[in-house]
Every structure is written in C-alpha cells, then in structure tokens.
C-alpha cells in the first residue's frame, strides 16, 4: 500500500503529463487574467480573441486563464511565456491589442514594448 505522500507524488506526475499532453511545452504559453476584476476590465473579450485564434489554427500556443497577479491599474493583463526567454507581461490588453499580440508577438516574435509592464 503506497503512503499518501507516495500517492500524491504519483498524482503530480500524472498531472504534469496531462498538462504536457495539452501542449504545455508548446513554444509559447499565453495566460489571460480572469479574476472578477480582470473580467470587469474586459478580459473575457480578450480571452475570446485568443480562443478564436487557437480554434482557427494558431498553433504552438498553450492558452490558459489565470487569477489576478495584483496589477489592478493595468488590467486586463496577458503574459506570454517562452522557455529560455524573459516572460513578457502585457497590460491594458483589449480586443485590438490581443489581436496585435497574436499577429506581431505570437506569429512574428515581436515584443510590443509600449504595452509591456515592467
């Protein structure tokens, strides 16, 4: 009989492989803030733009929602994380900015400096 600690470690390994199965190791991970405050600032629209892009064939992207990181005055926020690179954090993202993040950053690798939170 495995101990609870052994069981939880097994569960973690399974969780990790499920996340990887969903494309976690894709080149770009995109996190959209979806707490009440972010949603009030318009993040549902932003999420929709990313979801649409993925369903229309945007590949190599792992899209996820996230809670609030605490940057209230800059919401909605979106992070683009790539292995080996500095995570890029965008603030005040609306539908239009989301579309541009897809076109310029996700497809062409351009970091759109004016929207980056530092």
């Amino acid at each position: 009989m495995p101990t609870p600690l052994e069981l939880i470690k097994k569960k973690r390994a399974e969780a990790v492989s499920r996340i990887i199965g969903k494309g976690y190791l894709s080149t770009k991970r995109v996190y959209v803030g979806m707490a009440t405050c972010e949603i009030a600032a318009g993040s549902k629209d932003v999420m929709e733009v990313f979801q649409k892009a993925v369903s229309r064939g945007l590949t190599d992207v792992y899209l996820s929602q996230k809670g609030c990181a605490g940057r209230c005055n800059l919401e909605p926020t979106v992070e683009v994380i790539e292995a080996g690179k500095s995570p890029v954090k965008y603030g005040k993202v609306d539908k239009d900015r989301a579309q541009q993040i897809i076109e310029r950053h996700l497809k062409n690798g351009e970091i759109i400096k004016e929207w980056v939170i530092d």
């Binding site: 009989m1 495995p2 101990t3 609870p4 600690l5 069981l7 939880i8 470690k9 569960k11 973690r12 399974e14 969780a15 990790v16 499920r18 996340i19 996190y31 803030g33 707490a35 009440t36 405050c37 949603i39 996820s64 929602q65 996230k66 809670g67 609030c68 990181a69 605490g70 940057r71 209230c72 005055n73 992070e79 994380i81 690179k85 500095s86 995570p87 954090k89 939170i117 530092d118």
Partner: protein, 597 residues
Amino acid sequence: MTATPFRIIVCDGTSCINKGSRKLTALLREQLDKHGLIERTTIGLSGCLGMCDKGPILVVNPGYTIYGHVTEADIPEIVEEHLVNNRPVARLVIQEDHLYNRFFRVFGDAKFFGKQMRVTLRNCGIIDPENIDDYLSLRGYEALAKAITEMTPEQVVDEVEKSGLRGRGGAGFPTGRKWRLTAKEKTTPKYVICNADEGDPGAFMDRSAIEGDPHTIVEGMAIGGYAIGSDHGVVYIRAEYPLAIKRIQKAIEDARAHGLLGKNILGSNFSFDIEIRLGAGAFVCGEETALIHSIEGARGMPRPRPPYPAVSGLFGKPTLINNVETWANIPVVILDGANWFKTIGTETSKGTKVFALAGKVVNTGLIEVPMGTTLREIIYDVGGGIPHGKRFKSVQTGGPSGGCLPEKYLDTPIDYESLAKAGSIMGSGGMIVIDEDACMVDMARFFLEFTQDESCGKCTPCREGTKRMLEILIRITEGKGKPGDIENLERLGSMIKKSALCGLGQSAPNPVLSTIKNFREEYEEHINEKKCRAKACKHLISYEIGDKCIGCGACRRVCPVGAISGSPKTKHSIDKDKCIHCGLCFNTCKFEAIAKV
C-alpha cells in the same frame, strides 16, 4: 549576443544588509558599468527573501537564478560569466525550492514585484485556478500528504505554533495557539471554518486569493482538520463573490474526485470534507461568533466571548475558524517548514501580509510583502508614489476598523504591534493612500458612516454611540461644529472602544480617534474657522468666478438653482445665497475660471 535586459535583485532584508549586501550593490553597479551593461540592467532591492542563512542573496533575471553567500570578490565573476558569457556561476547558485519561488520565475523581473514576497499568493496569476492539474503540478496537496504520512496531529499543531503565524483576519491571534486549544477539546464532532466574509470597503485580498488559487484554501483547511481531529469544514463566503464561489466549489469537487477530500483521504484513515455557506453580505458576519450564528441559520449577531469558538463554536462544538489568508499560509508552513517561515518578518510577526493597495497611489494593486516592510517602501517602491505630483497626506490601514497615519509613521516597519502603537491596526489588509486633496474629517465621517450602517444593533455602545458620533461629525463637516465637539468625540470613542460587544464596535471609533490624534488642527479649523483646508466639505466652501471667464454661459445653464447670472461674453457671477455648493459649475467650466474658496 542577445540584447535581453537584465534585472538583478539584491535582497535588502536586515540580515543581508548586515552581511554587506549594500556594498555588493555598489560594486555591482561598478562592474556593470565596466562591461557596458549598465544601460540594459536594472538593479532592484527586495525585502527579505527568507533565505537569511544563505545571505547575502542576489537574484539574476531572466531565469530567476539565485546566488547565495555572495562576497565582494564574487561580483566581477557573476557579471562577466553570467551576464556577459551567459554561463551562470554554478558554485554560487543555490537551489531554493520554496513554494513562492515559482511566482518570481514569471514576475521576478518586474519592478512592481521587487519588494514583494508572494507566499500566500504564490500561485495567483501563474496557474489556471480551475484546473487541479495546475495546482498538483506545483506540489499541490503535498503538504496535506506530508502531514498525514509523516506527522501526527500534535506535530502539525507544533509546527504551526513554531512558525509564529498569526491570524490574518485582523486581530493577529497566534494561529498555533488557537489550533492547540481546539485540538485539546474532547467533544466531537469538531468543525473547521474558513472565514471568507471579506467586508472592508476597498479590500479584495480574500476574493483574489480564492479566485486565483482556491485549492490552497482547501488544502490548508484539510490540514487544519487533520490537526484538530475534525472531518467537517465550512467555507463561509459572501454571495456577492460569485466567481470566487464557483471556483472554490469546483476546487472542492475536483479534490473529491481525486480522493483529496472525502472518506479516507489518499488511502489513509483521515476523512474530511468541505461545504460552502453563503453570507448575505453583512459586515458584522466577519466577526467569528456572528459568522457562526449565520451558518447555524440564526441572525448574524455576535455574542460575548468566552466561551471562544475553540471550546464552543458551530452548533456548540469546538470550532477552528481562520481567515482565508491564514489558511493559505498553512501548506507553506508544513512544506517549507516553520524554521524557514519564521525567518521572514519581524520579532513578533512572522511571514508576509497581503494588502489591497488603493487610493491615491500610482500602482494600485494586490501586494504581498514581508512583515517589517515600511509603509514608505509599500507606497513609494511598490506603489510608485502619489500620482499627479500631489503630496502624501495619510495612509489608512485596516479598513473601517483602522486608523489614518500621517507622514511621520512612513518609516515604521509594519507588524501587528507597530501599527497598533501608531494608532491603527493591521486589520485584514486594506490600505488606502490619501493625498492632500482629502479632508481627514470627511474621511473619518465616511468610515464611521459605514460602520454605523453595519452595526447589528445588539449592544448599545455600538448602536447608539456610533450614531451620536456620526451626528457630531456630520455637523462639523457642515460648518455647525461647536467647541467641545472634539472632546465629546474622544470621550464617546473611548467609551465605545471599552464597552462594545464585538470587534466591530470596539474598533469603529478608530478612524475618528486616529484622525483627531494625528490631524487635530483640521478638526479645529472646521469648528472654529468654518474652514476645510482640502476644500472637500461642500458646506464649507463657496464658488467664485474669476477673470478667466469668457461668458460662455455653460455654468449658468447647468446651475440647478439659477444662482449664476451674466450676459453672454461677459464675466458671470454667483449668488452665494442661492448657491447650494453642488459643484456642477466647477466641473462644467472649461476655462478654469471657477475657483473653490
């Protein structure tokens, strides 16, 4: 060579400073300059990173590489090898795997997070809160498994007690002692409650914590259940937090599906489950005895203590009740250990504290800093200072139960004791920054109006006393104050503090008493000179039209009482007897011709 900007964080905690960290910063600048890297490197200072035994600590971003035991001789090597040649200096790298580290791998290079330390909010903003796999992948539920496998319930209580953790709901009662008292009771069943009835105006710590990382609360409560011998947990959360409710509900269901809640958790003999109870939003239900009444289906009113809930709580049974943030600390205490936990913070207050930073500050936000961080660091380094070049006037901590602290307290390292000594309280973590445009009397009136409205009415001091205080305050702001009013407020305030039944009443006078203590001259001006220096009390100001007026007539048209007259293209004037001080003309004028005097 890449042109990635670097951000180096130097730990600026007391222990690292003593070991010479500030000298390292200077040396670092020198070396960066030598290699021409100074332009694309920023150096940030952080509050204590909780690795004091390995200090001085230096973190290089991107990558969140942590260097420990750094000496002056190591700096040239770190700059040359790591920053220039992209080869981290392996002999100095320390592999710290504290739960909070992961947050900084994503956010560690942002200035806003430099002085912060995200322990309870460690997963908020980096995981999908509705996916249990995300939580499991970050050692989720490992603390619970560790407790069940390797520790007896007594050892869990010992660990929590040793950590020095204190209740984050406001009063700061030692968490370990509360657990021990409940654990020692023989009566069964026992209950575990999470108090998520967040009610302070402007506070959103608990909502964000649950919305961003609900499993942490579930895990913390399950550990609490194991420690005190309870199989039944209740999350009491207000109905106006629908998303938080949905997420904690899903977390509970997912945990059940994984055998992490319910009968025989992870194959052990320990069983524990959680149900959710919704509150209707009364402020007083954040008080533990009122909250318990509300869960029982009775009216949400407090009762005298003792007996404390530890002895006689929900349905008269021993009950362990802690706040959301306290619960979120528990997995960290178990997994990273009390010895690590107590390295963070001050002598009497260990760990970190979450604040909802709001008001007149550039970066409003949800922040978490080590205890002992000063108000100045929070407002200026994290918050980015006061916007529009205005002057700082005061900071209000602890919500309607707290007080307003003036500039002289800015360098106070915050913990439960220092804030109480300064005349405010830690509270649950609301922090409102006030600039020169705010009137302190009006501020006190606002908070008292809130508590007076939320008073449940059970005890006379709170029901009648706050009402009388509010009447005096309203009179003062309307220019009808009389000599003796201040003394009356002080007398009433101290009586209510001493005699009210629960925390709500006992703390309700705080905003008034602290503003009298720290801004007495503003009260005196209101009463004696009928003057409001911030020009915020509308009965004490009047409007005048100056020479910039071009006679456009916009003010004349918006004035609801016809107090403004003048022919087109000539300077208008206001009839002060008719004017009701509504301010519409002031807001309408495009030429800044109308002044408040």
